[in-house]
């Protein structure tokens, strides 16, 4: 296990290095002049441009800039506008603070949104999928399958405003979504504020998980070892959970890891729809303000999450399926 983790970590670092280099190159080399982007649609004077260029550190050659950026991540860096301590993902000139500080400020909302949403969609998705697979071909199965088909075709930018209008503004069943309260101080307020985003986010995902867990379970139920277990006279629940369900988990864990990694990097559409201030909103705002250092930082952070969860998935395989050998 230890060797596996070390090897995978090295691989992850390599991938992150390449991603950072590619992103950096795309951000700072492809635009004819990144400083112009930072100027926005207004017209900058030549002096202003020179200041922006100097602040961004782009008055040097691209490889030098990248090298400085990489050194900054491990050793910290000084900018004309201020100091950026050790894991320095860049310095945002819009708000005069290190990028990482802003990311850390936004992280609680993103983590709350992701974990709460994941709990809802995992329970609902796996539960409904199991139900549909166990009662395959019945009315229940058909209802669950067709509902999840329609729901998985819903988009958050449609379902979100609809839910807000119906549940919040017209009936007042749920309070206005907010990310203001901290979990440790006011857990109930935190729960109420995020309930609607969780439900809407979960609706879309639930449908996918229902479809998938149903399909894999049906496949597993037709496996030879499941038939043997049934023929041996084992009870239905034992066969269902110990044999079939366990086998159906592998593809679900794969998708779950991918989804979780993506969500921890920020759920842009959900956050914009419910005006929550997480990483996704940060990314969108950075794009509209052409805040390149911030965008670069968020991008790297999101890539880190994806790579991290990839490793976690692979480690989980071994826990679920004893045939999988790590190494």
């Amino acid at each position: 296990m230890l060797r596996f983790l070390m090897r995978r970590t090295l691989g992850a670092v390599a991938i992150l290095l390449v991603i950072s280099a590619v992103t950096f190159f795309l951000f700072y080399a492809i635009p004819r002049n990144p400083a112009l982007l930072a100027c926005g649609k207004g017209v900058c004077t030549e002096e202003q441009l020179a200041i922006v260029e100097h602040n961004l550190g782009i008055d040097k050659a691209i490889p030098v800039q990248y090298w400085e950026y990489m050194v900054g991540i491990f050793a910290g860096r000084d900018f004309p506008a201020g100091h950026c301590p050790a894991p320095c993902l860049g310095f945002s000139f819009r708000d005069n603070r290190p990028v990482l500080d802003t990311i850390m400020d936004r992280l609680p909302t993103t983590v709350s949104l992701t974990i709460g949403g994941a709990v809802v969609f995992l329970i609902l998705g796996l539960g409904l999928g199991m139900l549909a697979a166990a009662r395959r071909g019945t009315l229940l199965d058909k209802t669950v399958s067709s509902t999840s088909l329609v729901l998985s075709s819903m988009q958050i930018y449609f379902l979100g405003p609809l839910a807000l209008a119906v549940l919040v503004y017209n009936t007042g069943l749920l309070p206005q979504p907010s990310d203001a309260s901290a979990f440790t101080e006011e857990p109930w307020e935190w729960f109420k504020g995020l309930l609607l985003p969780w439900l809407v986010l979960a609706t879309i995902f639930t449908a996918n998980y229902t479809r998938m867990s149903r399909a894999t379970l049906i496949e597993q139920l037709q496996e030879d070892h499941v038939r043997t277990a049934k023929a041996k006279g084992m009870s239905r629940p034992t066969v269902f959970f110990r044999y079939a369900w366990r086998g159906s988990l592998i593809p679900i864990v794969t998708i779950f890891g991918i989804d979780l990694g993506a969500l921890f990097g920020g759920a842009m559409i959900t956050e914009v729809t419910f005006s929550l201030h997480g990483l996704g909103r940060l990314a969108v705002d950075s794009v509209t303000q052409s805040n390149l250092p911030m965008l670069m930082g968020v991008m790297l952070f999101a890539a880190l999450m994806i790579v991290l969860f990839n490793i976690i998935i692979d480690a989980c395989y071994a826990l679920i399926d004893p045939r999988v050998r790590l190494g």
């Binding site: 649609k41 075709s153 509209t288």
Partner: protein, 329 residues
């Protein structure tokens, strides 16, 4: 397997119609018998027809998506810019109502929006499929260094945070064509959306095609073609490509609706297409601003998109089943 099919396989001449049917023909026959598949294909074709015939519809309906009818005629919008009539101003003249604020015709906006969205999605699907064919088959057929390079490229692109990539690079791609200090023209925006979606859209199919080619390369008929002196180009064209048509078509039917919703999401987030270009996704951005006072506006783009995506997903499942009748449903 029933005894009947075994008999049919053993003596194919008995059933006269069964002789000489190509796999494509067989697929078509199976597909035609699938009622859900045929209906969803009709729905999908209807949407494409609407997109294609948008100017004709506009001419018949007598309105266009740009004119601000609500501002030209008094009595249509109230002082806050919302339609005077109930349900978003739906009546015999404005079938789907009026857009709050601008007073444009929602029906025309939707028709032209579908046109823009489907055009983008179709172009991206074609580009992504072509890229996947070239790179996937090159990796699988040439093997060795090519395979390693292309596989690493796919791994790398897969590790990118997708949505973030789209959102972050759209403005940057646009600066390739226009000076950032000037307004970006619509066609540049469309091209930028196409480029970013294409860049991260081909990998799944590429991986599938690589795998398929890898196993096909070792098959006897490819060996036979090689021995008889066929050029690699001929082998790829005549031996490999016909054998990967089915995964290609299936994957493409899953890809297209995905591109529609992703492009719409970009417009919703305000980085894709913007005013005044009619676009399916941009309508959701407008809807998010006005839904508290006029929820009807959101209804038409939302419901039509759900119908389109459901139909396309069902079509994808039917195409898959038609190619591979063994799959469990």
């Amino acid at each position: 397997m029933s005894s009947q099919t075994v008999a049919a396989e053993a003596v194919p001449v008995v059933e006269a119609g069964a002789v000489g049917r190509s796999p494509g023909r067989l697929m078509w026959r199976r597909f035609r018998r699938d009622r859900v598949g045929v209906i969803s294909a009709c729905v999908v074709l209807f949407f494409f027809a609407v997109g294609l015939l948008a100017p004709v519809i506009s001419w018949l309906y007598g309105k266009d998506p740009y004119t601000r009818y609500g501002q030209l005629e008094s009595g249509l919008l109230n002082e806050y810019g919302y339609p005077v009539k109930p349900n978003g101003g739906i009546d015999g003249e404005f079938w789907f109502g009026l857009e709050p604020g601008t007073g444009r015709d929602v029906f025309m906006e939707l028709v032209y929006g579908i046109r823009t969205s489907l055009l983008i999605a179709l172009v991206v699907t074609i580009l992504a499929t072509l890229t996947a064919i070239v790179l996937g088959i090159a990796a699988g057929y040439l093997g060795g260094r090519w395979d390693a390079a292309i596989s690493r490229l796919i791994d790398l692109l897969m590790a990118f945070p997708q949505q973030l990539f789209f959102v972050a690079f759209l403005p940057i791609i646009a600066t390739l064509f226009v000076d950032p200090r000037q307004e970006t023209p619509t066609h540049v925006k469309v091209i930028s959306v196409i480029i970013v979606l294409w860049a991260l859209g081909w990998m799944t199919l590429g991986r599938i095609l690589r795998g398929a080619t890898l196993s096909l390369r070792e098959r006897e008929f490819v060996e036979a073609a090689k021995v008889s002196g066929a050029s690699p180009w001929r082998i790829i064209r005549k031996e490999l490509l016909p054998n990967v048509v089915s995964p290609m078509l299936v994957q493409a039917t899953y890809m297209l609706p995905n591109f529609v919703t992703t492009a719409a999401a970009l417009s919703f987030l305000g980085v894709g297409l913007t005013e005044p270009t009619p676009d399916w996704g941009r309508m959701f951005a407008t809807a998010a601003e006005v839904y508290r006072s006029d929820i009807t506006y959101m209804f038409f783009p939302g419901v039509s998109m759900v119908i389109f995506i459901v139909a396309f997903n069902l079509l994808g499942d039917s195409v898959r089943d038609a190619f591979d009748p063994k799959t469990v449903r």
